[in-house]
């Protein structure tokens, strides 16, 4: 049929067209936008000092004084959850960006040069990927110690090989295309070809992956905190808040459920955005 249909589109040509009418994406954007606002203006929104212990008011049920009640140390759950947004968003952002920044060069070099360089780099990545997800970060925190920064380091180490793998596949495909062959035939330097010709055409899947991973990162970090090897008191982290209230959970369930739902809401909104980004940027998204 018309040959226009098989041609690569411009960067965002038609992308916003595809997303129009994607209500889920907009719900995601709105909710996530609100969460960002909450994180940024936490001091204005929080009704109490999130760290202030008040034994007279411990394990209070939700009321006008404490919107979501208090925990076993009498701290205001609403304020703690509001501040927790800062932690989770920071973790998601830093881990995702670092993983992508570290993984992309590996994948680019492997995919462009091929041969033994490719083999060596990709087998190295395979070793990291050979660990069940979540197990490698757990093992790393076991060694480097338990804490928020350690958890972020551990998550970055276990996520970056995935970016290397994705960029590798895409860079390899692009490197086989005729415009890269042309560039080589014209005697351009490898660096120029990699960064001017290959990378601009290869990074979109990494962006899609990052938009999908952002939520998973928050979930994984919360899980590490929950089992006691991530954030530590007095960090304001949702997974940790759930963990702290676990012993009283059956009787005072809101103490655990509120931060739990905060994680869910954030990840859900981020995933909706990730899907939308996927539909927008992935040419195959048309078929879905």
């Amino acid at each position: 049929m018309s040959e226009a249909a098989v041609l690569p589109k411009g960067r965002f040509a038609g992308a916003f067209e595809r997303v129009r009418g994607n209500a889920a994406f907009f719900v995601g954007v709105v909710v996530f936008g609100l969460i960002i606002l909450v994180a940024v203006f936490a001091p204005l929104i929080a009704t109490h000092d999130p760290l202030k212990i008040d034994f007279t008011a411990k394990l209070a049920a939700p009321s006008t004084a404490h919107l979501f009640g208090t925990d076993e140390l009498g701290r205001d759950i609403f304020s703690r959850v509001v501040y927790g947004a800062r932690t989770s968003l920071t973790i998601g952002l830093i881990v995702t960006v670092l993983s992508a920044l570290i993984g992309t060069p590996f994948g680019l070099v492997a995919g462009y040069f091929g041969g033994r360089i490719e083999w060596a780099i990709m087998r190295m990545m395979d070793v990291f990927i050979a660990f069940p997800p979540l197990l490698l970060p757990i093992a790393i925190t076991a060694a480097v110690g338990q804490g928020l920064y350690e958890a972020m380091l551990a998550l970055t180490v276990s996520f970056f090989p995935w970016y290397a793998r994705i960029v590798h596949g895409e860079a390899k495909r692009i490197s086989g295309q005729l415009f890269v062959k042309s560039a080589r035939a014209q005697g351009f330097s490898n660096l120029r070809i990699m960064f001017r010709h290959v990378l601009p055409n290869a990074w979109i899947p990494a962006i899609i992956q990052a938009s999908m991973d952002f939520g998973y990162t928050i979930l994984a970090a919360a899980s590490l905190s929950f089992i006691g090897i991530g954030a530590k008191e007095p960090d304001l982290e949702w997974g940790l808040m759930v963990a702290l209230s676990r012993s009283k959970f059956l009787d005072y369930w809101w103490v655990a459920l509120v931060p739990g739902l905060a994680i869910f809401l954030t990840v859900f909104a981020v995933n909706l955005i990730g899907d939308g980004v996927n539909d927008m940027l992935d040419p195959k998204g048309d078929s879905k």
Binding site: M1, S2, E3, A4, E17, R18, R20, G21
Partner: protein, 326 residues
């Protein structure tokens, strides 16, 4: 003259996307008689690959279809792909451009042939197997038994195309639709496949619609030619007449730009390129590229004119001398 096997009138097809319906065919009419090989020629965007899919009821769900069709004197509800498929299934077969992609990589040729034959004829699998084997022999497949046990990745494109033709013939079809079946093949293999299609069509009285962009293939194979441009038929005529006395300006220009052996001089060229179905020029869609275009060509859609040699839709045909630019 025998009655047409398939007759299509005013076939219109559009594809619905999020914004609008893009009309690809604007009223295509053609007919095929038993034993006749009709070539459907066109460039990209002409609608030549949409036509056969519409005829056989194979268009996707977002297609908007209109027009009339008759097959063996029965009226087809062409706007309803499922109904069309039901009537034509078993009587009309399709051959695809890329034979290796037209078979599942996970099943042997034998299994796929048997599945298709038993689905069409209701035969037992054993009988269908015999029919499949006989069909492979008919298309001169080397080692037909071995071919039944092979997977698509184990054969060449030419051999896969033979299996495709065997499949097409195994159901004793009245009509064979071949969508660029030799485009992906080497010339020597193309010559074999064309010869095979011709022999089988003539010996069995099968009507063939052969879609191609290659006028050379048409000259070698077809009895009659339909030339498509921008979703409309611009000319249809018996093959010798069309090649020696083209009427439509586009047909003439296309022939002139066709490289062929013995043509070591400069080609005539057609300026520009074929229009996109989403942005058709006014009047005759060919006028922006036509050296002989007049004011009328720019504004008025040319009417189909029937002569003894064939039919064409051109305000300023090659035969008329006025306005001729040499």
């Amino acid at each position: 003259m025998t009655a047409p096997l398939l007759e299509i009138n005013d076939l219109r097809v559009g594809f619905r996307n999020r914004r609008a319906v893009v009309q690809v065919l604007h009223g295509v009419s053609l007919d095929i008689r038993p034993g006749e090989i009709v070539g459907l020629v066109g460039e990209s965007g002409s609608g030549k690959s949409t036509t056969p899919l519409a005829m056989l009821g194979l268009l996707p769900a977002n297609a908007v279809i209109g027009g009339q069709a008759r097959f063996e004197n029965r009226t087809l509800d062409i706007a309803n792909p499922a109904a069309t498929r039901k009537i034509l299934g078993g009587r009309a077969s399709l051959i695809f451009q890329q034979p290796l992609k037209a078979f599942s990589p996970y099943a042997t040729f034998g299994r796929q042939l048997v599945d298709a034959i038993s689905a069409q004829t209701g035969m037992s699998r054993t009988d269908a197997g015999k029919v499949a084997l006989a069909a492979l022999e008919d298309v001169q497949m080397p080692d037909p038994e071995g071919a039944m046990a092979r997977y698509p990745h184990q054969v060449s494109g030419g051999q896969a195309q033979r299996v495709m033709i065997a499949l097409a013939l195994s159901c004793n079809p009245k009509l064979l639709v071949a969508d660029e079946p030799t485009t992906a093949l080497d010339v020597t293999v193309q010559a074999q496949v064309l010869h095979l299609i011709r022999e089988l069509a003539k010996s069995r009285g099968i009507g063939v619609l052969f879609i191609t962009h290659d006028l050379g293939v048409v000259a070698e194979l077809c009895d009659r030619v339909v030339v498509l441009y921008a979703g409309r038929v611009c000319e249809t005529a018996p093959v010798a007449g069309l090649f020696h006395h083209p009427q439509h300006r586009y047909t003439r220009a296309l022939l002139g730009s066709m490289p062929h052996l013995g043509s070591a001089q400069a080609f005539e060229t057609i300026p520009g390129s074929a229009p996109s179905p989403a942005a058709l020029p006014s009047g005759c869609a060919f006028h922006p590229r036509c050296a002989a275009a007049t004011e009328r060509c720019r504004t008025e859609l040319p009417q189909m004119v029937t002569t003894e040699a064939g039919r064409f839709a051109c305000w300023n045909p090659v035969g008329s001398d006025k306005g001729r630019v040499v």
